[in-house]
Amino acid sequence: MNKRPSASGATIILILINLYLGVPILATFLFSIAGRWDSTVLPESYTFHWYVQMITDPGVLAAIGRSFLVSGATVVLGLLVVTPAAFITYQFLPALKGTMRFLALLPYALPGVILAVGLIQLYSSGPLPIAGTFWILLFSYIIVTLPFMYNAITNSLQAIDAKTLMEAAESLGANRMAAFVQVVVPNIRPGLISAGLLTFAVSLGEFVLANMLVGGRFQTLQLVLEKAMHIDGHLSSAMVMLYFVLVAFSSLMLIAVAQGGGQRGSRAAGRAQAGSQMTGYAQ
Protein backbone atom coordinates (compact mmCIF):
# COMPACT_ATOMS: atom_id res chain seq x y z
CA MET A 1 0.00 0.00 0.00
CA ASN A 2 1.39 3.38 -0.87
CA LYS A 3 0.69 6.01 1.70
CA ARG A 4 -0.81 9.24 0.44
CA PRO A 5 -2.05 12.16 2.45
CA SER A 6 -5.79 11.75 2.77
CA ALA A 7 -8.09 14.05 0.83
CA SER A 8 -9.34 15.65 4.03
CA GLY A 9 -5.78 16.35 5.16
CA ALA A 10 -5.06 18.14 1.90
CA THR A 11 -8.27 20.13 2.23
CA ILE A 12 -7.34 21.27 5.73
CA ILE A 13 -3.91 22.43 4.51
CA LEU A 14 -5.51 24.32 1.64
CA ILE A 15 -7.99 26.00 3.96
CA LEU A 16 -5.20 27.03 6.33
CA ILE A 17 -3.14 28.51 3.51
CA ASN A 18 -6.12 30.43 2.18
CA LEU A 19 -6.91 31.75 5.65
CA TYR A 20 -3.32 32.83 6.11
CA LEU A 21 -3.36 34.65 2.80
CA GLY A 22 -6.95 35.85 2.91
CA VAL A 23 -7.48 37.11 6.45
CA PRO A 24 -5.23 40.19 6.15
CA ILE A 25 -6.96 41.20 2.93
CA LEU A 26 -10.36 40.64 4.46
CA ALA A 27 -9.40 42.61 7.57
CA THR A 28 -8.09 45.47 5.44
CA PHE A 29 -11.32 45.47 3.49
CA LEU A 30 -13.36 45.52 6.68
CA PHE A 31 -11.34 48.42 8.02
CA SER A 32 -11.78 50.32 4.76
CA ILE A 33 -15.57 50.19 5.05
CA ALA A 34 -15.75 50.55 8.82
CA GLY A 35 -17.33 53.54 10.48
CA ARG A 36 -16.83 53.26 14.24
CA TRP A 37 -14.70 50.28 15.28
CA ASP A 38 -13.24 50.76 18.75
CA SER A 39 -14.42 48.21 21.30
CA THR A 40 -16.31 45.59 19.30
CA VAL A 41 -15.21 42.46 17.42
CA LEU A 42 -16.80 43.68 14.18
CA PRO A 43 -17.29 47.33 13.23
CA GLU A 44 -20.26 49.06 14.78
CA SER A 45 -21.18 50.80 11.53
CA TYR A 46 -20.21 50.64 7.86
CA THR A 47 -19.56 53.41 5.33
CA PHE A 48 -18.20 53.99 1.83
CA HIS A 49 -17.00 57.39 2.88
CA TRP A 50 -13.31 56.51 2.52
CA TYR A 51 -13.79 55.17 -0.99
CA VAL A 52 -15.66 58.28 -2.05
CA GLN A 53 -12.95 60.46 -0.55
CA MET A 54 -10.28 58.47 -2.35
CA ILE A 55 -11.92 58.51 -5.76
CA THR A 56 -12.82 62.17 -5.66
CA ASP A 57 -9.20 63.07 -4.89
CA PRO A 58 -7.58 63.88 -8.26
CA GLY A 59 -4.15 63.29 -6.70
CA VAL A 60 -4.95 59.62 -6.12
CA LEU A 61 -6.13 58.96 -9.66
CA ALA A 62 -3.11 60.74 -11.11
CA ALA A 63 -0.83 58.71 -8.87
CA ILE A 64 -2.46 55.50 -10.09
CA GLY A 65 -1.85 56.63 -13.64
CA ARG A 66 1.82 57.36 -12.93
CA SER A 67 2.32 54.03 -11.19
CA PHE A 68 0.82 52.16 -14.12
CA LEU A 69 2.88 54.16 -16.56
CA VAL A 70 6.21 53.54 -14.89
CA SER A 71 5.45 49.87 -14.14
CA GLY A 72 4.18 49.19 -17.65
CA ALA A 73 7.20 50.91 -19.18
CA THR A 74 9.47 48.85 -16.93
CA VAL A 75 7.88 45.62 -18.18
CA VAL A 76 8.04 46.59 -21.86
CA LEU A 77 11.56 48.02 -21.81
CA GLY A 78 12.81 45.28 -19.50
CA LEU A 79 11.53 42.54 -21.80
CA LEU A 80 12.94 44.27 -24.86
CA VAL A 81 16.39 44.65 -23.33
CA VAL A 82 16.73 41.59 -21.12
CA THR A 83 15.29 38.95 -23.46
CA PRO A 84 17.92 39.43 -26.18
CA ALA A 85 20.64 39.85 -23.54
CA ALA A 86 19.69 36.62 -21.77
CA PHE A 87 19.42 34.82 -25.09
CA ILE A 88 22.77 36.00 -26.42
CA THR A 89 24.48 35.02 -23.19
CA TYR A 90 22.83 31.62 -23.17
CA GLN A 91 23.40 30.88 -26.83
CA PHE A 92 26.69 32.45 -27.79
CA LEU A 93 28.55 33.48 -24.64
CA PRO A 94 28.12 30.62 -22.18
CA ALA A 95 31.37 31.64 -20.52
CA LEU A 96 29.61 34.81 -19.28
CA LYS A 97 26.71 32.89 -17.75
CA GLY A 98 28.10 33.00 -14.21
CA THR A 99 28.89 36.71 -14.40
CA MET A 100 25.44 37.51 -15.74
CA ARG A 101 23.70 35.48 -13.05
CA PHE A 102 25.73 37.30 -10.45
CA LEU A 103 24.93 40.71 -11.93
CA ALA A 104 21.26 39.80 -12.15
CA LEU A 105 21.22 38.87 -8.48
CA LEU A 106 23.11 41.97 -7.36
CA PRO A 107 19.97 44.16 -6.98
CA TYR A 108 18.86 41.78 -4.22
CA ALA A 109 22.07 42.37 -2.33
CA LEU A 110 21.94 46.17 -2.59
CA PRO A 111 19.43 47.87 -0.31
CA GLY A 112 17.24 50.34 -2.19
CA VAL A 113 18.55 53.24 -0.13
CA ILE A 114 22.14 52.65 -1.20
CA LEU A 115 21.10 52.22 -4.81
CA ALA A 116 19.12 55.45 -4.65
CA VAL A 117 21.95 57.50 -3.14
CA GLY A 118 24.38 56.17 -5.74
CA LEU A 119 22.03 56.86 -8.61
CA ILE A 120 21.30 60.41 -7.46
CA GLN A 121 25.02 61.18 -7.20
CA LEU A 122 25.75 59.69 -10.59
CA TYR A 123 22.87 61.23 -12.51
CA SER A 124 22.39 64.65 -10.91
CA SER A 125 25.01 66.07 -13.28
CA GLY A 126 27.24 64.82 -16.09
CA PRO A 127 26.17 63.65 -19.54
CA LEU A 128 22.85 62.22 -18.39
CA PRO A 129 21.27 64.51 -15.78
CA ILE A 130 18.04 62.61 -15.25
CA ALA A 131 17.94 62.63 -11.45
CA GLY A 132 14.50 63.47 -10.12
CA THR A 133 12.73 62.59 -13.39
CA PHE A 134 10.52 59.77 -14.53
CA TRP A 135 13.45 58.30 -16.45
CA ILE A 136 15.68 57.62 -13.51
CA LEU A 137 12.81 55.81 -11.82
CA LEU A 138 12.14 53.75 -14.94
CA PHE A 139 15.78 52.77 -15.43
CA SER A 140 16.28 51.93 -11.78
CA TYR A 141 13.15 49.74 -11.82
CA ILE A 142 14.57 47.80 -14.75
CA ILE A 143 17.69 47.15 -12.68
CA VAL A 144 15.76 46.26 -9.54
CA THR A 145 13.56 43.78 -11.38
CA LEU A 146 16.50 42.15 -13.18
CA PRO A 147 16.53 39.13 -10.87
CA PHE A 148 12.98 38.24 -11.95
CA MET A 149 13.47 39.01 -15.62
CA TYR A 150 16.86 37.54 -16.25
CA ASN A 151 16.42 34.34 -14.29
CA ALA A 152 12.92 33.61 -15.57
CA ILE A 153 14.04 34.07 -19.16
CA THR A 154 17.27 32.10 -18.78
CA ASN A 155 15.41 29.26 -17.08
CA SER A 156 12.86 29.21 -19.89
CA LEU A 157 15.61 29.04 -22.49
CA GLN A 158 17.18 26.12 -20.70
CA ALA A 159 13.85 24.37 -20.24
CA ILE A 160 13.05 24.35 -23.94
CA ASP A 161 16.68 23.57 -24.90
CA ALA A 162 16.77 26.70 -27.04
CA LYS A 163 20.25 25.85 -28.27
CA THR A 164 19.12 22.72 -30.08
CA LEU A 165 15.91 24.39 -31.30
CA MET A 166 18.06 27.14 -32.82
CA GLU A 167 20.23 24.54 -34.53
CA ALA A 168 17.17 22.75 -35.84
CA ALA A 169 15.75 25.98 -37.21
CA GLU A 170 19.07 26.92 -38.79
CA SER A 171 19.41 23.50 -40.40
CA LEU A 172 15.98 24.19 -41.93
CA GLY A 173 17.24 27.35 -43.58
CA ALA A 174 16.26 29.97 -41.00
CA ASN A 175 18.76 32.71 -40.25
CA ARG A 176 19.43 33.46 -36.59
CA MET A 177 16.96 36.34 -36.38
CA ALA A 178 14.14 34.28 -37.91
CA ALA A 179 15.00 31.32 -35.68
CA PHE A 180 14.94 33.53 -32.58
CA VAL A 181 11.70 35.32 -33.45
CA GLN A 182 9.75 32.39 -34.86
CA VAL A 183 11.00 29.52 -32.74
CA VAL A 184 12.60 30.70 -29.50
CA VAL A 185 10.33 33.60 -28.53
CA PRO A 186 6.98 31.77 -28.95
CA ASN A 187 8.30 28.88 -26.87
CA ILE A 188 9.54 31.01 -23.99
CA ARG A 189 6.31 33.03 -23.99
CA PRO A 190 5.13 31.53 -20.67
CA GLY A 191 8.44 32.58 -19.10
CA LEU A 192 8.11 36.07 -20.57
CA ILE A 193 4.58 36.39 -19.19
CA SER A 194 5.65 35.37 -15.70
CA ALA A 195 8.67 37.65 -15.85
CA GLY A 196 6.44 40.53 -16.96
CA LEU A 197 3.85 39.91 -14.24
CA LEU A 198 6.40 39.77 -11.47
CA THR A 199 8.16 42.84 -12.75
CA PHE A 200 4.88 44.70 -12.99
CA ALA A 201 3.81 43.78 -9.48
CA VAL A 202 7.19 44.58 -7.96
CA SER A 203 7.40 47.97 -9.70
CA LEU A 204 3.86 48.85 -8.71
CA GLY A 205 4.57 48.10 -5.08
CA GLU A 206 8.00 49.78 -4.90
CA PHE A 207 8.35 52.61 -2.39
CA VAL A 208 11.97 53.33 -1.40
CA LEU A 209 13.31 54.24 -4.83
CA ALA A 210 10.18 56.20 -5.77
CA ASN A 211 10.44 58.15 -2.54
CA MET A 212 14.13 58.93 -2.76
CA LEU A 213 14.67 59.29 -6.50
CA VAL A 214 11.64 61.31 -7.52
CA GLY A 215 9.49 61.92 -4.44
CA GLY A 216 6.99 64.70 -4.96
CA ARG A 217 8.09 65.33 -8.54
CA PHE A 218 6.54 62.10 -9.77
CA GLN A 219 4.14 60.90 -7.10
CA THR A 220 3.38 57.20 -7.51
CA LEU A 221 0.55 55.35 -5.81
CA GLN A 222 2.88 54.05 -3.11
CA LEU A 223 3.93 57.59 -2.17
CA VAL A 224 0.31 58.78 -1.95
CA LEU A 225 -0.54 55.66 0.04
CA GLU A 226 2.23 56.28 2.50
CA LYS A 227 1.05 59.85 3.00
CA ALA A 228 -2.53 58.69 3.51
CA MET A 229 -1.39 56.25 6.17
CA HIS A 230 -0.22 59.16 8.33
CA ILE A 231 -3.53 60.92 7.89
CA ASP A 232 -6.09 58.17 8.26
CA GLY A 233 -5.94 54.37 8.51
CA HIS A 234 -9.35 53.93 6.95
CA LEU A 235 -8.42 55.93 3.89
CA SER A 236 -5.15 54.06 3.41
CA SER A 237 -7.01 50.74 3.80
CA ALA A 238 -9.35 51.79 1.06
CA MET A 239 -6.36 52.63 -1.11
CA VAL A 240 -4.73 49.29 -0.38
CA MET A 241 -7.94 47.59 -1.48
CA LEU A 242 -7.95 49.59 -4.67
CA TYR A 243 -4.32 48.76 -5.22
CA PHE A 244 -5.03 45.09 -4.63
CA VAL A 245 -7.88 45.05 -7.12
CA LEU A 246 -5.84 46.92 -9.71
CA VAL A 247 -2.88 44.51 -9.45
CA ALA A 248 -5.14 41.47 -9.62
CA PHE A 249 -7.07 42.91 -12.54
CA SER A 250 -4.03 43.98 -14.53
CA SER A 251 -2.33 40.62 -13.91
CA LEU A 252 -5.34 38.79 -15.25
CA MET A 253 -5.48 41.15 -18.22
CA LEU A 254 -1.82 40.56 -18.98
CA ILE A 255 -2.28 36.79 -18.81
CA ALA A 256 -5.35 36.96 -21.01
CA VAL A 257 -3.66 39.15 -23.59
CA ALA A 258 -0.49 37.04 -23.65
CA GLN A 259 -2.31 33.73 -23.76
CA GLY A 260 -4.87 34.86 -26.28
CA GLY A 261 -2.21 35.37 -28.92
CA GLY A 262 -0.61 32.00 -28.18
CA GLN A 263 -1.60 28.66 -29.56
CA ARG A 264 -2.12 25.44 -27.75
CA GLY A 265 1.52 24.65 -28.31
CA SER A 266 2.85 27.46 -26.21
CA ARG A 267 0.75 26.24 -23.33
CA ALA A 268 2.40 22.88 -23.82
CA ALA A 269 5.77 24.55 -23.63
CA GLY A 270 4.58 26.30 -20.51
CA ARG A 271 3.63 23.03 -18.95
CA ALA A 272 7.07 21.64 -19.60
CA GLN A 273 8.90 24.56 -18.08
CA ALA A 274 6.65 25.58 -15.21
CA GLY A 275 8.82 23.71 -12.73
CA SER A 276 12.12 25.25 -13.63
CA GLN A 277 10.67 28.75 -13.68
CA MET A 278 9.48 28.43 -10.15
CA THR A 279 13.01 27.73 -9.01
CA GLY A 280 13.99 30.93 -10.75
CA TYR A 281 11.62 33.05 -8.75
CA ALA A 282 12.58 31.42 -5.52
CA GLN A 283 16.09 32.79 -5.68
Partner: protein, 353 residues
Protein backbone atom coordinates in the same frame (compact mmCIF):
# COMPACT_ATOMS: atom_id res chain seq x y z
CA UNK B 1 33.57 12.76 -57.28
CA UNK B 2 32.66 12.31 -53.68
CA UNK B 3 29.44 14.03 -52.70
CA UNK B 4 30.71 14.98 -49.28
CA UNK B 5 34.41 15.17 -48.64
CA UNK B 6 35.89 15.74 -45.21
CA UNK B 7 39.52 16.68 -45.36
CA UNK B 8 41.94 16.84 -42.43
CA UNK B 9 39.24 17.89 -39.98
CA UNK B 10 40.43 18.91 -36.50
CA UNK B 11 38.69 20.26 -33.42
CA UNK B 12 40.02 21.40 -30.08
CA UNK B 13 38.04 22.12 -26.93
CA UNK B 14 40.56 24.18 -25.02
CA UNK B 15 43.63 22.00 -24.96
CA UNK B 16 41.62 18.84 -25.64
CA UNK B 17 42.08 17.55 -29.16
CA UNK B 18 38.67 15.94 -29.77
CA UNK B 19 38.76 15.40 -33.53
CA UNK B 20 42.11 14.43 -35.01
CA UNK B 21 42.72 14.73 -38.69
CA UNK B 22 39.55 13.03 -39.91
CA UNK B 23 39.39 12.30 -43.64
CA UNK B 24 36.25 10.79 -45.15
CA UNK B 25 34.54 10.67 -48.51
CA UNK B 26 30.87 9.91 -48.87
CA UNK B 27 29.55 8.97 -52.29
CA UNK B 28 26.25 10.23 -53.74
CA UNK B 29 23.42 8.26 -52.13
CA UNK B 30 25.72 6.46 -49.70
CA UNK B 31 24.84 5.70 -46.08
CA UNK B 32 27.93 6.25 -43.96
CA UNK B 33 27.92 5.69 -40.22
CA UNK B 34 30.32 7.19 -37.70
CA UNK B 35 30.51 4.60 -34.96
CA UNK B 36 32.33 4.90 -31.67
CA UNK B 37 32.02 5.17 -27.90
CA UNK B 38 30.85 8.42 -26.31
CA UNK B 39 33.50 11.10 -26.45
CA UNK B 40 35.22 9.68 -29.55
CA UNK B 41 34.52 12.82 -31.59
CA UNK B 42 31.86 11.39 -33.89
CA UNK B 43 29.15 13.92 -32.99
CA UNK B 44 31.61 16.79 -33.14
CA UNK B 45 32.66 15.68 -36.62
CA UNK B 46 29.02 15.58 -37.72
CA UNK B 47 28.33 18.98 -36.18
CA UNK B 48 31.26 20.47 -38.09
CA UNK B 49 29.75 19.13 -41.31
CA UNK B 50 26.40 20.65 -40.29
CA UNK B 51 28.00 24.00 -39.49
CA UNK B 52 27.18 24.03 -35.77
CA UNK B 53 30.81 23.79 -34.66
CA UNK B 54 33.63 25.88 -36.01
CA UNK B 55 36.36 23.97 -37.78
CA UNK B 56 39.80 24.45 -36.20
CA UNK B 57 41.63 22.92 -39.15
CA UNK B 58 40.55 21.13 -42.30
CA UNK B 59 37.80 21.50 -44.87
CA UNK B 60 34.37 20.15 -45.69
CA UNK B 61 33.43 19.93 -49.36
CA UNK B 62 29.98 19.43 -50.83
CA UNK B 63 30.02 18.54 -54.53
CA UNK B 64 33.61 19.69 -54.59
CA UNK B 65 32.72 23.11 -53.21
CA UNK B 66 34.32 24.19 -49.95
CA UNK B 67 31.49 24.83 -47.48
CA UNK B 68 33.66 25.14 -44.35
CA UNK B 69 32.83 28.83 -43.94
CA UNK B 70 29.19 28.69 -45.05
CA UNK B 71 26.64 29.32 -42.25
CA UNK B 72 24.55 26.30 -41.23
CA UNK B 73 21.34 27.69 -42.70
CA UNK B 74 22.87 27.96 -46.16
CA UNK B 75 24.56 24.57 -46.38
CA UNK B 76 21.50 22.74 -47.67
CA UNK B 77 21.92 20.05 -45.07
CA UNK B 78 19.13 18.31 -43.17
CA UNK B 79 19.69 17.34 -39.57
CA UNK B 80 17.95 14.99 -37.14
CA UNK B 81 18.78 15.31 -33.45
CA UNK B 82 18.77 12.82 -30.60
CA UNK B 83 16.34 15.00 -28.65
CA UNK B 84 14.04 15.39 -31.73
CA UNK B 85 14.22 19.20 -31.36
CA UNK B 86 10.69 19.68 -32.66
CA UNK B 87 9.29 23.17 -32.20
CA UNK B 88 6.87 22.79 -29.26
CA UNK B 89 4.65 25.67 -30.40
CA UNK B 90 3.93 24.14 -33.80
CA UNK B 91 1.85 21.16 -34.90
CA UNK B 92 3.54 18.25 -36.64
CA UNK B 93 2.48 19.73 -39.96
CA UNK B 94 3.81 23.19 -39.13
CA UNK B 95 7.08 21.67 -37.97
CA UNK B 96 7.49 19.98 -41.33
CA UNK B 97 6.36 23.11 -43.18
CA UNK B 98 8.85 25.35 -41.35
CA UNK B 99 11.75 24.63 -43.69
CA UNK B 100 9.61 25.24 -46.78
CA UNK B 101 8.31 28.48 -45.29
CA UNK B 102 11.91 29.58 -44.87
CA UNK B 103 12.38 28.88 -48.59
CA UNK B 104 9.42 31.18 -49.21
CA UNK B 105 7.61 28.50 -51.17
CA UNK B 106 3.96 29.07 -52.15
CA UNK B 107 1.46 28.23 -49.40
CA UNK B 108 -0.24 25.53 -51.46
CA UNK B 109 3.04 23.85 -52.32
CA UNK B 110 4.15 23.98 -48.69
CA UNK B 111 1.06 22.18 -47.49
CA UNK B 112 1.04 19.63 -50.28
CA UNK B 113 4.70 18.71 -49.83
CA UNK B 114 4.49 18.61 -46.03
CA UNK B 115 1.42 16.37 -46.01
CA UNK B 116 3.03 14.04 -48.53
CA UNK B 117 6.19 13.80 -46.48
CA UNK B 118 4.26 13.14 -43.27
CA UNK B 119 2.33 10.41 -45.06
CA UNK B 120 5.61 8.86 -46.12
CA UNK B 121 6.66 8.49 -42.49
CA UNK B 122 3.19 7.17 -41.63
CA UNK B 123 1.92 10.16 -39.66
CA UNK B 124 -0.89 11.60 -41.81
CA UNK B 125 -3.32 10.75 -39.01
CA UNK B 126 -1.64 12.91 -36.39
CA UNK B 127 -0.35 15.83 -38.42
CA UNK B 128 -2.47 18.40 -36.59
CA UNK B 129 -1.14 17.28 -33.21
CA UNK B 130 1.51 19.05 -31.21
CA UNK B 131 4.80 17.43 -30.24
CA UNK B 132 3.76 16.90 -26.62
CA UNK B 133 0.81 14.83 -27.85
CA UNK B 134 3.07 12.47 -29.82
CA UNK B 135 5.15 9.51 -28.65
CA UNK B 136 8.93 9.63 -28.89
CA UNK B 137 8.94 7.49 -32.00
CA UNK B 138 6.31 9.67 -33.67
CA UNK B 139 8.23 12.80 -32.76
CA UNK B 140 11.39 11.48 -34.33
CA UNK B 141 9.44 10.57 -37.48
CA UNK B 142 8.17 14.16 -37.65
CA UNK B 143 11.77 15.33 -37.25
CA UNK B 144 12.83 13.05 -40.09
CA UNK B 145 10.03 14.35 -42.33
CA UNK B 146 10.95 17.91 -41.39
CA UNK B 147 14.58 17.37 -42.37
CA UNK B 148 13.73 15.61 -45.64
CA UNK B 149 10.91 17.78 -46.97
CA UNK B 150 13.38 20.42 -48.14
CA UNK B 151 15.17 17.76 -50.19
CA UNK B 152 18.55 18.53 -48.65
CA UNK B 153 21.79 17.56 -50.34
CA UNK B 154 22.86 15.58 -47.32
CA UNK B 155 21.01 14.13 -44.35
CA UNK B 156 22.81 14.11 -41.01
CA UNK B 157 21.50 12.07 -38.08
CA UNK B 158 23.01 12.46 -34.62
CA UNK B 159 22.12 9.41 -32.50
CA UNK B 160 18.49 9.69 -33.65
CA UNK B 161 17.34 6.48 -31.97
CA UNK B 162 19.20 6.62 -28.68
CA UNK B 163 16.28 8.07 -26.71
CA UNK B 164 13.82 5.42 -27.89
CA UNK B 165 13.07 1.96 -26.57
CA UNK B 166 14.32 -1.19 -28.27
CA UNK B 167 11.31 -2.15 -30.39
CA UNK B 168 10.65 1.35 -31.73
CA UNK B 169 14.36 1.72 -32.35
CA UNK B 170 14.39 -1.23 -34.74
CA UNK B 171 11.19 -0.13 -36.51
CA UNK B 172 12.48 3.36 -36.98
CA UNK B 173 15.90 2.30 -38.16
CA UNK B 174 14.23 0.25 -40.87
CA UNK B 175 12.10 3.26 -41.81
CA UNK B 176 15.18 5.48 -41.99
CA UNK B 177 17.00 3.00 -44.21
CA UNK B 178 13.93 2.56 -46.40
CA UNK B 179 13.39 6.29 -46.92
CA UNK B 180 17.11 6.87 -47.42
CA UNK B 181 17.17 4.34 -50.24
CA UNK B 182 13.96 5.61 -51.80
CA UNK B 183 15.24 9.18 -51.88
CA UNK B 184 18.81 8.07 -52.64
CA UNK B 185 19.95 10.72 -50.21
CA UNK B 186 23.55 10.93 -49.08
CA UNK B 187 23.48 10.23 -45.35
CA UNK B 188 25.89 10.50 -42.46
CA UNK B 189 24.67 8.76 -39.34
CA UNK B 190 26.21 8.92 -35.89
CA UNK B 191 25.68 6.18 -33.34
CA UNK B 192 27.41 4.37 -30.48
CA UNK B 193 25.27 1.28 -31.08
CA UNK B 194 27.31 -1.20 -33.12
CA UNK B 195 24.32 -3.36 -33.97
CA UNK B 196 22.51 -0.33 -35.38
CA UNK B 197 25.59 0.61 -37.39
CA UNK B 198 26.05 -2.89 -38.79
CA UNK B 199 22.42 -3.23 -39.81
CA UNK B 200 21.85 0.14 -41.46
CA UNK B 201 25.10 1.30 -43.11
CA UNK B 202 26.72 0.99 -46.50
CA UNK B 203 30.02 1.79 -44.87
CA UNK B 204 31.10 2.37 -41.28
CA UNK B 205 33.85 4.62 -40.01
CA UNK B 206 34.82 3.41 -36.56
CA UNK B 207 36.16 6.25 -34.43
CA UNK B 208 38.25 6.10 -31.28
CA UNK B 209 39.80 9.03 -29.40
CA UNK B 210 39.08 11.50 -32.19
CA UNK B 211 40.46 9.37 -35.01
CA UNK B 212 38.93 7.16 -37.66
CA UNK B 213 40.50 3.79 -36.89
CA UNK B 214 38.77 1.73 -39.56
CA UNK B 215 36.62 2.48 -42.57
CA UNK B 216 34.81 -0.28 -44.40
CA UNK B 217 31.62 -2.16 -45.17
CA UNK B 218 29.83 -3.64 -42.13
CA UNK B 219 30.81 -7.25 -42.89
CA UNK B 220 34.40 -6.20 -43.37
CA UNK B 221 34.48 -4.33 -40.05
CA UNK B 222 32.94 -7.29 -38.30
CA UNK B 223 35.01 -10.03 -39.88
CA UNK B 224 38.33 -8.22 -40.24
CA UNK B 225 38.61 -5.60 -37.52
CA UNK B 226 41.68 -3.45 -37.99
CA UNK B 227 42.76 -3.55 -34.38
CA UNK B 228 41.84 -4.77 -30.95
CA UNK B 229 39.65 -1.73 -30.24
CA UNK B 230 37.47 -2.32 -33.31
CA UNK B 231 37.37 -6.05 -32.64
CA UNK B 232 36.07 -5.57 -29.12
CA UNK B 233 33.83 -2.55 -29.78
CA UNK B 234 31.99 -4.05 -32.73
CA UNK B 235 30.24 -7.24 -31.76
CA UNK B 236 31.14 -9.63 -28.95
CA UNK B 237 34.62 -11.08 -28.94
CA UNK B 238 36.31 -13.85 -26.98
CA UNK B 239 39.97 -13.23 -26.31
CA UNK B 240 42.46 -16.01 -25.71
CA UNK B 241 45.88 -14.95 -24.54
CA UNK B 242 48.81 -17.34 -24.64
CA UNK B 243 52.45 -17.94 -25.35
CA UNK B 244 53.83 -18.93 -28.75
CA UNK B 245 55.57 -22.25 -28.28
CA UNK B 246 56.28 -23.09 -31.93
CA UNK B 247 56.94 -20.00 -33.98
CA UNK B 248 57.42 -21.92 -37.22
CA UNK B 249 53.96 -23.49 -37.27
CA UNK B 250 52.22 -20.87 -35.15
CA UNK B 251 51.35 -22.94 -32.13
CA UNK B 252 49.87 -21.05 -29.22
CA UNK B 253 49.78 -22.35 -25.68
CA UNK B 254 46.65 -21.17 -23.88
CA UNK B 255 46.72 -22.41 -20.29
CA UNK B 256 48.25 -25.72 -21.32
CA UNK B 257 46.11 -26.23 -24.42
CA UNK B 258 47.93 -26.08 -27.75
CA UNK B 259 46.21 -24.27 -30.62
CA UNK B 260 47.69 -24.27 -34.07
CA UNK B 261 46.95 -20.97 -35.75
CA UNK B 262 48.68 -20.66 -39.14
CA UNK B 263 48.38 -16.85 -39.14
CA UNK B 264 50.58 -16.77 -36.04
CA UNK B 265 53.51 -18.35 -37.89
CA UNK B 266 56.65 -16.27 -37.46
CA UNK B 267 55.44 -14.61 -34.25
CA UNK B 268 56.83 -15.14 -30.79
CA UNK B 269 56.17 -14.22 -27.18
CA UNK B 270 52.76 -13.46 -25.76
CA UNK B 271 49.91 -12.92 -28.19
CA UNK B 272 46.13 -12.76 -28.09
CA UNK B 273 43.69 -14.22 -30.57
CA UNK B 274 40.00 -13.38 -30.79
CA UNK B 275 36.99 -15.32 -31.95
CA UNK B 276 33.31 -14.38 -32.29
CA UNK B 277 30.83 -16.38 -30.15
CA UNK B 278 28.88 -17.63 -33.17
CA UNK B 279 32.06 -19.00 -34.78
CA UNK B 280 32.55 -21.57 -32.04
CA UNK B 281 30.99 -25.03 -32.18
CA UNK B 282 30.07 -27.12 -29.20
CA UNK B 283 31.40 -30.64 -29.99
CA UNK B 284 28.78 -33.09 -28.80
CA UNK B 285 29.10 -36.68 -27.69
CA UNK B 286 32.87 -36.70 -27.82
CA UNK B 287 33.02 -35.65 -31.46
CA UNK B 288 36.51 -34.65 -32.49
CA UNK B 289 37.54 -31.37 -34.11
CA UNK B 290 37.48 -31.46 -37.88
CA UNK B 291 40.40 -30.74 -40.17
CA UNK B 292 41.27 -27.05 -40.06
CA UNK B 293 39.69 -26.70 -36.64
CA UNK B 294 41.32 -26.28 -33.27
CA UNK B 295 39.77 -27.88 -30.21
CA UNK B 296 39.45 -26.36 -26.78
CA UNK B 297 38.49 -28.08 -23.56
CA UNK B 298 36.50 -26.10 -21.04
CA UNK B 299 34.03 -26.24 -18.18
CA UNK B 300 30.45 -25.04 -18.59
CA UNK B 301 29.65 -22.04 -16.43
CA UNK B 302 26.19 -21.10 -17.61
CA UNK B 303 23.78 -21.29 -20.50
CA UNK B 304 21.39 -18.38 -21.01
CA UNK B 305 18.43 -18.42 -23.36
CA UNK B 306 18.38 -15.15 -25.32
CA UNK B 307 15.51 -16.09 -27.62
CA UNK B 308 16.83 -17.06 -31.02
CA UNK B 309 20.15 -18.08 -29.57
CA UNK B 310 21.47 -19.73 -26.46
CA UNK B 311 24.60 -18.11 -25.06
CA UNK B 312 26.82 -20.74 -23.51
CA UNK B 313 29.61 -19.46 -21.27
CA UNK B 314 32.52 -21.79 -20.72
CA UNK B 315 35.70 -21.41 -18.75
CA UNK B 316 38.87 -22.18 -20.63
CA UNK B 317 42.10 -21.90 -18.69
CA UNK B 318 40.75 -19.21 -16.38
CA UNK B 319 39.28 -17.11 -19.21
CA UNK B 320 35.62 -16.93 -20.14
CA UNK B 321 34.62 -18.03 -23.60
CA UNK B 322 31.15 -17.20 -24.88
CA UNK B 323 29.54 -19.45 -27.45
CA UNK B 324 26.34 -18.62 -29.30
CA UNK B 325 24.31 -21.63 -30.35
CA UNK B 326 21.09 -21.47 -32.34
CA UNK B 327 18.14 -22.31 -30.16
CA UNK B 328 17.08 -25.14 -32.49
CA UNK B 329 20.23 -27.24 -32.07
CA UNK B 330 19.42 -30.03 -29.67
CA UNK B 331 21.90 -29.46 -26.92
CA UNK B 332 21.98 -31.99 -24.13
CA UNK B 333 21.09 -30.78 -20.64
CA UNK B 334 23.70 -28.14 -20.00
CA UNK B 335 24.55 -28.41 -16.33
CA UNK B 336 27.12 -26.03 -14.90
CA UNK B 337 30.37 -27.80 -14.21
CA UNK B 338 30.05 -30.19 -17.16
CA UNK B 339 33.07 -30.71 -19.41
CA UNK B 340 32.70 -29.08 -22.81
CA UNK B 341 34.67 -29.52 -26.04
CA UNK B 342 34.70 -26.54 -28.36
CA UNK B 343 35.75 -26.46 -31.99
CA UNK B 344 36.95 -23.31 -33.75
CA UNK B 345 37.84 -23.11 -37.39
CA UNK B 346 41.40 -21.77 -37.72
CA UNK B 347 40.35 -19.08 -40.17
CA UNK B 348 37.97 -17.61 -37.60
CA UNK B 349 40.75 -16.92 -35.13
CA UNK B 350 41.81 -13.29 -35.47
CA UNK B 351 45.20 -12.21 -34.30
CA UNK B 352 44.74 -9.15 -32.07
CA UNK B 353 47.35 -6.45 -32.00
Amino acid sequence: MAHVKIEGLNKFYGSKHVVKDVNLEVAQGEFLTLLGPSGCGKSTTLRMVAGFETIDAGKVYLHGKDISGVPANRRGIGMVFQSYALFPNMSALDNVAFGLRMQKAAAGTIREKSVKMLAEVGLEQVMEQFPYQLSGGQQQRVALARALVREPEVLLLDEPLSALDAKIRIQLRELIKDIQQRHKITTIYVTHDQEEALSISDRIAVMDKGKVVQLGAPDEIYARPANRFVATFVGTLNQLTGQIVDGARGVLDVAGQKLTVPTLAGKSGQVAVGVRPEKIRVLLNGAAAEAGEVALQGTLKSAALLGTIVRVTAEVGGAEVKVDVLNNSRLPGLTPGAQLSLGISQENLMVLE
